[in-house]
Subunit: 185 residues, 4 copies
Amino acid sequence: MSSSENRDKLIRTASRLFRSKGYAGVGLKEILEAADLPKGSLYYHFPGGKVELADAATRWAGDWVAAMLGQCFDQAASFKEGGVRACEALAAAAEPQSCVPACPVVSILQATPSEPALRKTAQEIYDMWTAGLARQAERFGVDDPQQAALSLHMRLQGAWILAYAQQSGAAFHHLAAELRKETVG
Amino acid sequence: MSSSENRDKLIRTASRLFRSKGYAGVGLKEILEAADLPKGSLYYHFPGGKVELADAATRWAGDWVAAMLGQCFDQAASFKEGGVRACEALAAAAEPQSCVPACPVVSILQATPSEPALRKTAQEIYDMWTAGLARQAERFGVDDPQQAALSLHMRLQGAWILAYAQQSGAAFHHLAAELRKETVG
Amino acid sequence: MSSSENRDKLIRTASRLFRSKGYAGVGLKEILEAADLPKGSLYYHFPGGKVELADAATRWAGDWVAAMLGQCFDQAASFKEGGVRACEALAAAAEPQSCVPACPVVSILQATPSEPALRKTAQEIYDMWTAGLARQAERFGVDDPQQAALSLHMRLQGAWILAYAQQSGAAFHHLAAELRKETVG
Amino acid sequence: MSSSENRDKLIRTASRLFRSKGYAGVGLKEILEAADLPKGSLYYHFPGGKVELADAATRWAGDWVAAMLGQCFDQAASFKEGGVRACEALAAAAEPQSCVPACPVVSILQATPSEPALRKTAQEIYDMWTAGLARQAERFGVDDPQQAALSLHMRLQGAWILAYAQQSGAAFHHLAAELRKETVG
DNA sequence: AATGAATGAGTCTTCATTCAT
DNA sequence: CATGAATGAAGACTCATTCAT
């Protein structure tokens, strides 16, 4: 449990740093110092080293996003409203922090050429998000749920990139406003 | 002339590698070897080192994208058609290569926390793209050209991320199909 | 223990090299090779890098000189005799070696403009030497011990510079002879 | 003439920088920038590169010091007074500047192990200074002029080191006061 | 179950120098 | 007579990883 606790702290800290500065831009030393954990402890929890930690951190963040999307749609009366709520939730998640982090998958995507193992992770997480949105679209009776899910996913990704570039949640609010104006239920 | 030639080769090579592997993921040695240039030549062409090279490479790629977007819309009969052509152009640019590169700005965005000078570069390029799209929207008489431009920009960014993750131009083709279906604004 | 051993070896080797060739004239690689230690070990023992190593090496040599001066005066019957013994001890320390080293503080003094942290170190060591000589002067009942200490310190420094330039202990022997001739203060 | 002018400027600038930061601590680029001369001009004036420049700069500064010593003694009524005047002149030379420079020979002494050619230069300059002082001692009828000259040279060197360490002319003033108190003409 | 000591390959950068003009 | 372009070696430093305990 103390074991599990430190492991979790490592995952959360690594996720935050990777999202802010990229996989190659963060050193293990920096992660351990930020997590206030002893130097030798990383390879105990993650024998696979940096790659295994990045994999775990990305999956953890990916699950968190998926859960957040699920909640948004569960509280919504329509697929459209679910999208709006998702924008607002992502904007809210971005705003309180000093450094607006990128989509957790983006940072490890760029590490893929040197660490091929991470590519599968990234794709699985994106597929999971799209699949989750598709289930919601289906639940709300949207025509072509797969295409609606992919479309919304893409727009959220685009907003996320701009929010990261601008270090502001404005892009998410803009997307929310846009979604509200669109016809269709 | 050889001077300018080698400088350009450095920019092109760096742009390609940064887009594929991220700013921190590419070493200067790797860039010089890929460009087949001697070790000492980098700091002659770019006294500011890696940051100055990344800045130049990103601006060069940013200009290339802006020009490409301009061509797509110049050949189009409507703003919607311009967007479709842009998707197809980006998909075409992605496909022939062995490694589908990310948006050139994304890689340097993640280097921003350690290299603050690059943040302005990234934002200027994104602003330039949005402004270019807004001019086109205005030319075609779209209602609220600024919002149409930002919306399209976001969707292209989202498609680009997915294309990079999947290492395929499929996401761009998907966005093109989606745009085609939409009623004209 | 192996830890402390290697750290000490690094300090002794660095001190010898800095004294011979100056702070900027000695590379870390050269120090590690001379100490027969692996490349990565320096930053383990001295996280502050070259400056921290130079600081430690200079303080170590400074303490060694202070101790040597103390011994010379402890064995002497007068302040004057202490000065003579100090000259002889410094000459003896210079002669057996192939390269007569400079005063350990001089080398880091020249690094001070780029490494301001070393200035305090140099001044502290010089102050310590002067203070030690002043205590001895007081013990022997010399009039104005502070001035006698400073005067002797200056003359030892001057002899040290000339000994370093000539790569010979002759200057120290010369100063010893001069001190012997002087009337007691 | 413009040639000679630039050559002189190079010498003066190099001398100042070497004295402040040591031979190995100053780069050619820094010297050229400080002298506001074009990059390629150094090897035209000094085909032997950094070593030849250092040699010329040190000899130039060495001549300047010798001339200054000569003036001090020419204006003095006794050898002792000449020494006092020399202290005051060196203190005056140190004080107006932001960085009190070391004896010009010290910096190149530390480069001697890697650049053996400079050793002879250093020794020649020191010998010249001692010989000049010995001539003055002889002129004033001092007993054992050679020994008096060497003694004063050593004390000036010692004061110079302390002045450099303290970045103040105080050590020279202290030596002047000490010389004044001493008996003998 | 957990960790601090230790390391060599790698990082970006600066250096003194040469050469064609 | 003078110089800017160009470069390979070396600089200090950081990295992810291993291992004995």
